[in-house]
């Protein structure tokens, strides 16, 4: 490597562990009101309204799916047109070569197929999966984030992040545990 990257470990953030989804949402709401912007909540199941609590919106996936649906429809119909009109024209009972009503079912199936791939791979792509390593996995007890515990992370690159002040702030919500996280390399931010 030509350039020398700065060597870790880097501070990654502070993570608080809660017992209930209500506690997690309350503390995330309070953190947002305090002015924190780079934070993330982890839970074993989707919590209604959590994205508002951490102040986050992302509706790109529907446009990805819509794009895939359009491509599927055009490819599906185009394929049949090419086959039935250009490549292999066949006179069936004197009907027009481009007898489009009979091409509707296959066009429909191609649309659905392409959109379903768009939904699954769009979701995985936007979520950055597969991603085997992430610094949050180093948080103590984090294996319970997929079982019965709820975690709030405030990232170190938040403008008002302060090692001691943020910790004190999170303690107000009486979490089960508060821990500081470090990352071996830079990047990996949940919130860019």
């Amino acid at each position: 490597m030509a350039h020398q990257a700065p060597q870790g470990p880097f501070p990654y953030g502070i993570v608080a562990e809660f017992d209930t989804p209500e506690d997690l949402k309350r503390s995330a709401n309070a953190a947002r009101e305090r002015g924190y912007t780079k934070m993330e909540a982890y839970s074993p199941f989707p919590i209604h309204g959590m994205e508002d609590a951490v102040g986050y919106k992302d509706f790109r996936i529907k446009w990805i799916i819509f794009g895939c649906a359009c491509v599927g429809a055009v490819v599906g119909l185009g394929m049949q047109y090419w086959w039935a009109v250009i490549d292999y024209p066949m006179n069936v009972g004197g009907r027009p070569l481009f007898s489009w009503p009979q091409f509707v079912p296959v066009t429909f199936e191609c649309t659905i197929l392409a959109s379903a791939f768009g939904a699954v791979f769009g979701m995985l792509g936007l979520n950055g999966l597969p991603k085997p390593y992430h610094p949050i996995f180093e948080a103590p007890n984090f294996e319970r984030a997929s079982q019965d515990r709820f975690f709030l992370l405030i990232e170190a690159h938040d403008p008002i992040y302060d090692r001691f002040e943020t910790k004190r702030f999170l303690e107000e919500f009486q979490p089960l545990k508060i821990s500081e996280l470090e990352a071996e390399e830079e990047g990996h931010h949940e919130v860019a």
């Binding site: 209930t20 993330e40 989707p46 951490v54 939904a119 699954v120």
Partner: protein, 470 residues
Amino acid sequence: MVARDPHDKNPELLVGNYSYKRMDEDVLSLITQQKKHPFAWYIFLGIGFMITQILLLSITWLVYQGIGIWGNNQPVGWGFDIINFVWWIGIGHAGTLISAILLLLRQQWRNSINRFAEAMTIFAVMCAGLYPLLHTGRPWVAYWLFPYPNVLAMGPQFRSPLIWDVFAVTTYITVSALFWFIGLIPDFATLRDRATTKAKTVWGLLSMGWRGSSRHWLRYEQAYLILAGLSTPLVLSVHSIVSLDFAVSIVPGWNVTLFPPYFVAGAVFAGFAMVLTFMIPIRRWYKLEGMITMRHIDWMCKIMLATGLIVFYGYLMEVFYAWYSANPYELYMAENRLFGPYAWAFVALWICNGILPLILFFPKMRQNLKVIWIVCQFVSIGMWLERFVIIPMSLHRDYLPSSWGMYYPTVWDFGMFLGTMGFFIMLMFLFIRFLPIINVFEMKELLSRMRPGRQAVEPEAASVAGKGGE
């Protein structure tokens, strides 16, 4: 926060002292602690495995000899192969109905049964796909069904319902598998985090680094909802297209516009019967009565009753249509069904699908697991007979009496049919052992909505009320 009718005596969607932790333990420990499996698991896997050998034998002999070993003849060109294809694919439809349509309708009772029903969908479509594949006679060139550039001067006829079927069924199995997999990702993450053995690597790979962050969940829920919205018209289209294989032709008894909705209702009817057939014993063996409650079973019975009535209405309309059309061939078809050589099948069909399921009108009967299970068996038989009545019975009396014939299935027809049933049983029991049979994260979400606040940290001794029925 599930609204309840005060006069409703059925148990809730969740019976027992559940916590998030106990849900994990009840469902996921079936995978992590393999010794919890009952003896019945070995019995049924063994039966399924042995019958699968019959399937392999039947396929081998078929590929070696050709489809002449089947009972298909002139004029009955479609026999067991198409009957069983339609039967199996119909069974799959309940899974998509539960996972997609009930999600869109915000029916929370789907949460504990959707994973199981989706698995059933995939396995049933696998069994269904075998039949047209083998009916081509040369399964090794089945890729000719797909449009691909070739030098054989050959291409699919896109005006034919048979090629629509190819697209519909392949799309259906692909989308069902995607839907199933995306639903499994968060549960794979839970398994990864609970695993203590080398299996952790496998769960880690399958969960693909799922972290359960709010950003993950936001995109996940959007994708899942849209996928449900896509699957809903898909599932309706699949059986409609299957019915068009018949309805587009001019055979008396097939050329009816009633077919698409009537086939879709029949598919859901048969599918729910199959879900209940497996669900009733399995919830008991694995002590899942607290999550799959009598309330779930009651609702499944109601859907079966409703779709059964639609199907029965279809039977009545077929007879009416034959009379109203004033077409001598259609009239003869109806007469032949009632008094012809296969009248026994027609009468049995009306008893199995039309009369017996009416017992589910009684709320007491919807709480009696033995009655429900027996009704489900009759529905499965009835739905098979329905396809028998539609397919060989319409074909065996051709327009000209000189071309009339009879259809006699051979031992290889029965071998294939039995074989696919064994294959299905084997796959279902393997699924129960190696994948979470209940969607745990959705059940936890349901728990957090129904009983907000702190959950019991230590799971108390299993006190599952509302076993019901017996």
